[in-house]
């Protein structure tokens, strides 16, 4: 039997990998992919805990996380497409119209 801690460690490590990807990549699409990785990490820990605690609430929550992730990604990607129509780039640092140049 694999202990629960192993699943939690895997989940946490996966979350951190996603976080690093989110913080360091330039492209918005890659940042969205990193967010997906983080949501999957959350799901692993939710389902693992649900399994080990013999309670379905974690899985219900994971179900909602999956639905929200799909909805969020759809909106994010369509925002990206409408932004791309105005400015043909997916690099986050190019969207700096509101940035104060003095700093």
């Amino acid at each position: 039997m694999v202990p629960l801690n192993w699943y939690l460690m895997l989940s946490v490590s996966l979350f951190i990998v996603g976080l690093i990807g989110f913080l360091t990549r330039r492209s918005i699409i890659m940042m969205f992919l990193s967010v997906e990785i983080m949501l999957n990490a959350i799901n692993i820990s939710l389902i693992a805990m649900s399994h080990y605690m013999q309670d379905m609430r974690g899985q219900v929550l994971a179900f909602f996380v999956i639905a929200c992730a799909a909805a969020g990604m759809a909106v994010g990607l369509v925002l990206l497409i409408s932004a791309y129509r105005n400015k043909p780039t997916v690099r986050l640092e190019d969207f700096d119209l509101l940035k104060d140049r003095a700093f």
Binding site: S11, I16, G18, I20, T24, N43, I47, Q54, F64
Partner: protein
Amino acid sequence: MLPQLFFAYFAVMILGLALVVITRRNMVHAVVWMLLMFVHIGGLYLFLNAEFFAVIQVIVYAGAVLVMFLFVVLLLNLREEQGLPIFIRGVQGRVIIGLILLLTLVSAAGQASKGQGGRFSIDYIQRQTHIKVLGSVLFNDYVYPFLIMGFILFVPMVAVVVLAIRRSNGSS
């Protein structure tokens, strides 16, 4: 011994593939590696007695969300992005912060202990099948969250149509 080995395989593959994903320059390649990672996560769910989630993982994440990514990557012409650097400036500092966070969280996760067992034991789920158990919990105890979830899924649908539609006369 065998379960541990399987878990180790899946854990190494998931983490390795996640690292591969976030370091790819070509986004189509990243999406393909991500697909492989999602399939592995689905395999991990099978060990957790959640076969419905294993399938949902593949249907929703791999079949819908990632295809959406792939569509967007292919719709946008990203040829000129290829030559530019992958990571932003000052990447090392962020990675170090991430690693510190990793150490903290992993040590915390190592000390976690499970609480009181509930009524959904493994035998019960196997007897009733996972879909039935999940369905009964979802539709009996969590009806209102489920309905709200339906609404949450509906709003982005409208939002996507409104945002993506090109007006025939007007702007552009």
